[in-house]
Every structure is written in structure tokens, then in C-alpha cells.
């Protein structure tokens, strides 16, 4: 199969979906400029022009509402935020209106607004530009939250979002944008709520969404050097969450490490741990371990930033801990962002 980069997969899915459905339009700050949101909206602009790719004023709150009202008329808006941190300004619309629309108006129809938002990573983007808001959004029934970790998933989940009937938030980690992988040519949907086994293993289960699925796979490489077989699970969407794939893995390995790009407390890692404590407790042969960013805002300074983010090494170390193994990890692996210097 031919390969694409993560951003190219998004670009391609957007164009293909827009070809198939004239109701889809792309909108957001700067979607039509020469950078084209790191290339992801460039194809749509070239193919469909500004009739269907709309730059907008700076108005996150109203614009979320605007897309809801357009969706209520049958349009299929695809909103893009260059940083997901800006979406806090739109939480009222997403939580109080989009998520609740179908239910509180009597199940007559939904407003399937699709919002893509990029999680900043690298080059000291700092406290207000590198949060991962996935758990915050995923707490609310009525929304779906997808966290594609591969080019194929970036395409397939976007296709599902643009053809489904539910508001979806797709969070894309900036650090994944240059990742290359096999991507089907056709616009095939990947369903929400269906995780994937990134790498099969038998000793310990590592669950990681978005960038952490990638870093967990690199951790599994390190562990393999030491003869330890880690199974890496990428849930692909965190709402709905594929509990079964996680539980099945834990039932097999008896050990669970959850890696996450956001804080532990009340985050994604808490939910995964809770699901296992509820539904596979008897299989756990050791306490669960969470590997996440620590309880502070994202710092800018490079040494602090490096220490702040979970790395393949810190995930691998957590696995060794959980396995009560006294092997040391054999090698450090460069930070995913080591060579990154923009555009940010």
C-alpha cells in the first residue's frame, strides 16, 4: 500500500469527503492561508476554493454556535483549530448545545459538527499552547472524541466523523504530523469505539492514545531488547472507548500501564484504570501504573519540557516497575520532538 504522512492523510480524507458530500465545508482561522493548517486544508482549498473553505474572524465561541446552526440545516461543518487550547472558548457551545442537542430537543436529529484541533508539542509552545484536552471533552455524553495516532487512523476517523451523525472532536498531536504510514486510497471509515492492537505482546499491556500510542510502541521496542513482550493498545477514540480490547489484553498480560499526554488526575489514564478495576480486577497481577505529564502547566525551557513529557524510556521504566523486574532499560530513545523546529 502507498504511504502518506499524517497531515497528508487528513488532507486527502478532507478532499475525498468533500467530493462525496457537497454539504461539507471547512472553516476556521487561517484555513485558507498559505500554510493551510500545516497542509491539512490545502487540498480542499485548491480543489474547492473559498466557496467551501472559509477563513473566519477570531470568534471561537460564536463560531462553534454558527456551525451548530449550519448543521441543523443539513450542512456538515468541519471546523479546524490550530491549537486545541483555543477550544476552551467554545466549551459552552460544545458541552451545552452540540452534545445535548439531539437528546434535549427530543431525539429529532443531531448536529454532527466535526471539530479538528491540534495539540501543540515541541519548541517550547508553553502552558497555553500545548495542552491535550481529550479527557475534558470526553466526559460529556453526546460527543465523540477521536485521537488518531497513525496516518491511516487520521484518515479513517475523519471519514467516520464526516459521514456520521454525532458531533465529533478530533484531536491531532502536532508531533505526529510528519509520521509516515500506509493509508488506503479509498475513503474508508474507521469506526469510533474500536481500538487497535499496535503491537501484540504477552507480559504487560500499555494503553496510550494519540502520541502516546506511538511512544508506547517505541517503549515496547526498548522492552523487547530486554526480552519483555509488551502489548500496545491504541483506543483510537476515547469516547466511545473500546473497553473490550483493553480488558482482553489485561486479562492476558495481568499488567497495565497507561500513558497519557494530559494530567493523570481526572484524565484519560484514570478512566482506563477505572475500567480495569471494575471489569478485570481479578486479572491484575500488579498495581496499575500511570505515566503522564506531571501536575504543572507545560514549561517552555527545553530541559523542563523534556522532563515534562512522557517518553518511550519513562513508559518502559514504568513497565519494568509494574513487572517488578530489576533489569534496567537498555537504551534511551530520542524524544519524538528532538529534531523539531517548526513551523509550530
Amino acid at each position: 500500500m502507498r504511504t502518506l504522512k499524517y497531515w497528508q492523510a487528513i488532507n486527502e480524507a478532507t478532499v475525498q469527503c468533500m467530493e462525496a458530500d457537497p454539504n461539507i465545508f471547512v472553516a476556521g482561522i487561517g484555513v485558507d492561508d498559505f500554510k493551510g493548517i500545516f497542509g491539512t486544508t490545502r487540498g480542499a482549498l485548491e480543489r474547492f476554493g473559498r466557496e467551501r473553505v472559509h477563513d473566519i474572524p477570531n470568534c471561537e465561541n460564536a463560531f462553534a454556535g454558527v456551525t451548530i446552526g449550519a448543521a441543523a440545516m443539513g450542512k456538515r461543518p468541519l471546523v479546524v483549530h490550530p491549537r486545541n487550547d483555543f477550544m476552551f472558548l467554545a466549551t459552552d457551545m460544545l458541552f451545552n448545545l452540540a452534545a445535548k442537542w439531539r437528546y434535549m430537543f427530543g431525539n429529532k436529529g443531531g448536529v454532527p459538527v466535526v471539530t479538528r484541533a491540534i495539540v501543540g508539542r515541541g519548541w517550547g509552545q508553553g502552558a497555553t499552547h500545548s495542552q491535550s484536552t481529550h479527557a475534558t471533552f470526553a466526559h460529556f455524553p453526546g460527543l465523540y472524541v477521536a485521537t488518531p495516532a497513525s496516518p491511516a487512523d487520521a484518515k479513517g476517523l475523519l471519514v467516520s466523523a464526516l459521514t456520521g451523525s454525532t458531533p465529533v472532536i478530533i484531536l491531532e498531536n502536532r508531533a505526529l504530523y510528519e509520521l509516515e504510514g500506509e493509508v488506503p486510497e479509498a475513503a474508508e471509515p474507521i469506526p469510533f469505539g474500536k481500538g487497535r492492537i499496535v503491537r501484540a505482546g504477552t507480559d504487560v499491556t500499555i494503553v496510550g492514545a494519540s502520541l502516546m500510542a506511538y511512544e508506547a510502541a517505541r517503549a515496547a521496542d526498548i522492552l523487547a531488547d530486554q526480552g519483555i513482550s509488551a502489548e500496545v493498545i491504541d483506543p483510537r477514540s476515547i469516547r466511545p472507548l473500546d473497553e473490550e480490547i483493553i480488558l482482553e489484553s489485561v486479562r492476558k498480560t495481568g499488567h497495565l500501564v497507561v500513558a497519557d499526554t494530559s494530567w493523570a488526575t481526572y484524565g484519560f489514564s484514570a478512566e482506563v484504570a477505572a475500567v480495569v478495576a471494575e471489569k478485570a480486577l481479578g486479572s491484575l497481577r500488579a498495581p496499575v501504573r500511570r505515566v503522564t505529564i506531571p501536575d504543572c502547566p507545560a514549561p517552555v525551557s527545553k530541559p523542563l519540557e523534556d522532563a515534562f513529557h512522557p517518553s518511550p524510556a519513562s513508559i518502559a521504566r514504568a513497565c519494568l516497575d509494574v513487572l517488578r523486574s530489576d533489569v534496567a532499560i537498555g537504551r534511551e530513545v530520542a524524544d519524538v520532538q528532538a529534531a523539531f523546529y517548526g513551523p509550530y
Partner: protein, 336 residues
């Protein structure tokens, strides 16, 4: 684009529409008044378990605006939405059943008084968070513009929404994208119990400030249904011609307490004299008097309607009370 100015229009001006149209407006207002007064009385039975914001005293706005709309046009409202829902053609029984929390309610008992909707007649949604639906209405209007359709979207909101950021963002967006959005501000002078003077800059009015966004903005006597209709017709035509949004401030007044069925003469945030002065400007009575004076009908017509409407609401209440509650098995239905 120019901004136009419209003085308060009094019925004394004699600018009545033709008889059939005028009579329809009067009856529509009477219907809303009858419905709400009946529901306010029944509310005390404590069977409508949903916080309810009555529109009593403000009926002319919804009825006048709806007179200028087509069935394919859409409308959005906020927490005080009964009149807007009914005037746009929302089913009365569905509304009453909603307040009674029944499965036959327009939101199947899930939404309550503040989340009425009737998409089948273009009343798309009401929502209890200030200003939300203003943006949604702009989005619907934008979709019409994209489709080069002659449909328009109406947004009803109160003077309290004017302070929210969404008001500004929506106006700016609507003007920049030139969407067919008819903005109807029901200025009843209060946001909950806080008067306008301590919430917005003095020395100017809402409609005047709005003109700075470069769209036509006018003020009408919101207790004069014929004046509202005339303004709304002008605004709707403007929007339909693709000239962008249009803003109408309607001066009116809420008679009852902010939320709930009671009078609140003694709450202290407004004087009895003020309330009474607005009751003296009762939009329903004024319109009735006008059509009678114009010879469009006699007093007996008013009395007949009154009886019919009492009957209609009584039947709607009976229907609601006889309707089943949603079954607990369906608790999750409609989340996705």
C-alpha cells in the same frame, strides 16, 4: 449599505394591515396570552416541574415578527421562548405536554420549558444559556446564504444577551459574511432583576450601538404588534434580498416574575407604578381596540375568540395530563 432609523410607531398612526391579517395577529396574541395565563394558574398545582419564564406582556414581538416569516424560515429563541414557539406555529399540545414532562411533549419531556423546539414548522431550538442560539441562528442563515436560498433565520434574544461576548462575535460574523439573519432584541429593561442602566453604557440605546456594526438597526414599540410587523417585514425583505443581517429592538416589558408564575410587585427591584404603566400599554388590549376601532370586527368577535381559546388550552392541558410520562427504559434514548 445604509442604516435606517425608525421612530416608535404608535397604533394611533393608523398603519394597520388589511383586516384579515390584522385580525389574525390579534387572535394569535390572544392565544398566547390565554395559554400562558392558564399555565401560570395551573403551575401552582406543581405538576409542571420545569422552571418557566412566561412571556405575558411581550406577545406582540413574537406575533408581529412571525407575521413577516414564511414557513420555510427558521427561528431560534432563549429561555423565554413560549411565545416565539407558538407564534412560529409550534404545536400547542406539544408545548403543554413538554411542560408537564410527558412523552408527547415537543422535546419528549427531556427539554422542559426552556428547550422548546418544533423543527417541522421552522422553530429550530430554544436554549437556556444566554446568547447560544444567536450564533446558531447565524449559522442557519449562513447555510441559506451558501445555498443562495431565499430563506432567512430569526434570532430572538433579550436585552441581557447584549452584554455577552457572543452577541458581539455573532454580529461581527453576520455582517462580515452578510448572512440573512433577522435579529430581534426583546428589550424588557431587565436581566433577571438587574435594570439595564447598571448593565450597559448609559447615554445610548441598544439599537443605536448596534448601528456601529454597519447593519440596519431600528427600534419599534414592542407592544404594538402592527409596528413590529411592519419593521419585521422590512427586515425580512432586506435579509431575503441578500443584503445581510438586520436588527430590530422591540421595547416591551415582562409582567410576571423573571421565572415562575407569580407577580412580583413586592420584590423591590422595580416599582409598582412602573409595572402598572406597562400593563396599561397591554399589547393585546391595544391591538384589540385598534381592530375594533378600525371596524375590522366587533367586540363580540373578541369574546368568541376568547372562549375558543380557553377551550383550546383546556383541551391541550387535558391532553398533556392524559399523556404518559416517558418510560424509564428510554432514559438514554437520543444521546447519540
Amino acid at each position: 449599505m445604509t442604516t435606517t432609523e425608525r421612530p416608535h410607531t404608535a397604533i394611533a398612526d393608523g398603519a394597520l394591515p388589511p383586516a384579515s391579517a390584522a385580525l389574525e395577529l390579534v387572535r394569535a396574541m390572544m392565544r398566547i396570552r390565554t395559554v400562558e395565563e392558564t399555565l401560570a394558574d395551573l403551575y401552582k398545582e406543581q405538576e409542571m416541574r420545569t422552571p418557566t419564564h412566561f412571556s405575558i406582556g411581550q406577545e406582540a414581538v413574537a406575533v408581529g415578527v412571525s407575521g413577516a416569516l414564511r414557513p420555510t424560515d427558521v427561528a431560534y429563541s432563549g429561555h423565554r421562548c413560549h411565545a416565539h414557539y407558538l407564534a412560529k406555529g409550534g404545536d400547542l399540545r406539544g408545548m403543554v405536554a413538554e411542560l408537564y414532562g410527558r412523552e408527547t411533549g415537543c422535546a419528549r419531556g427531556r427539554g422542559g420549558s426552556v428547550h422548546l423546539n418544533a423543527p417541522e414548522v421552522g422553530f429550530i431550538a430554544a436554549s437556556a444559556i444566554l446568547g447560544e442560539t444567536m450564533a446558531a441562528a447565524a449559522g442557519s442563515a449562513w447555510s441559506f446564504a451558501m445555498d443562495r436560498s431565499p430563506r432567512i433565520a430569526v434570532s430572538y434574544f433579550g436585552d441581557g444577551v447584549v452584554e455577552e461576548g457572543i452577541f458581539h462575535e455573532t454580529l461581527n460574523f453576520a455582517v462580515v459574511k452578510q448572512v440573512p439573519l433577522l435579529l430581534i432584541c426583546e428589550n424588557n429593561l431587565y436581566s433577571t432583576h438587574t435594570p439595564l442602566e447598571v448593565r450597559q453604557p448609559s447615554g445610548t440605546t441598544i439599537w443605536e450601538r448596534v448601528r456601529s456594526y454597519q447593519l440596519p438597526s431600528v427600534i419599534v414599540d414592542g407592544n404594538d404588534v402592527f409596528a413590529v410587523l411592519a419593521a419585521a417585514e422590512e427586515g425580512a425583505a432586506w435579509c431575503r434580498e441578500g443584503k445581510g443581517p438586520y436588527f430590530i429592538e422591540c421595547s416591551t416589558y415582562r409582567w410576571r416574575e423573571h421565572v415562575g408564575p407569580n407577580w412580583d410587585y413586592d420584590a423591590g427591584y422595580r416599582t409598582k407604578a412602573e409595572v402598572d404603566s406597562w400593563i396599561a400599554k397591554d399589547p393585546v388590549k391595544r391591538a384589540q381596540a385598534a381592530v375594533v376601532a378600525a371596524g375590522y370586527c366587533g367586540d363580540e368577535q373578541i369574546i368568541t375568540w376568547s372562549a375558543e381559546l380557553q377551550q383550546e388550552i383546556a383541551e391541550a392541558v387535558a391532553y398533556a395530563k392524559a399523556s404518559p410520562f416517558p418510560s424509564v427504559e428510554t432514559l438514554l434514548d437520543g444521546t447519540y
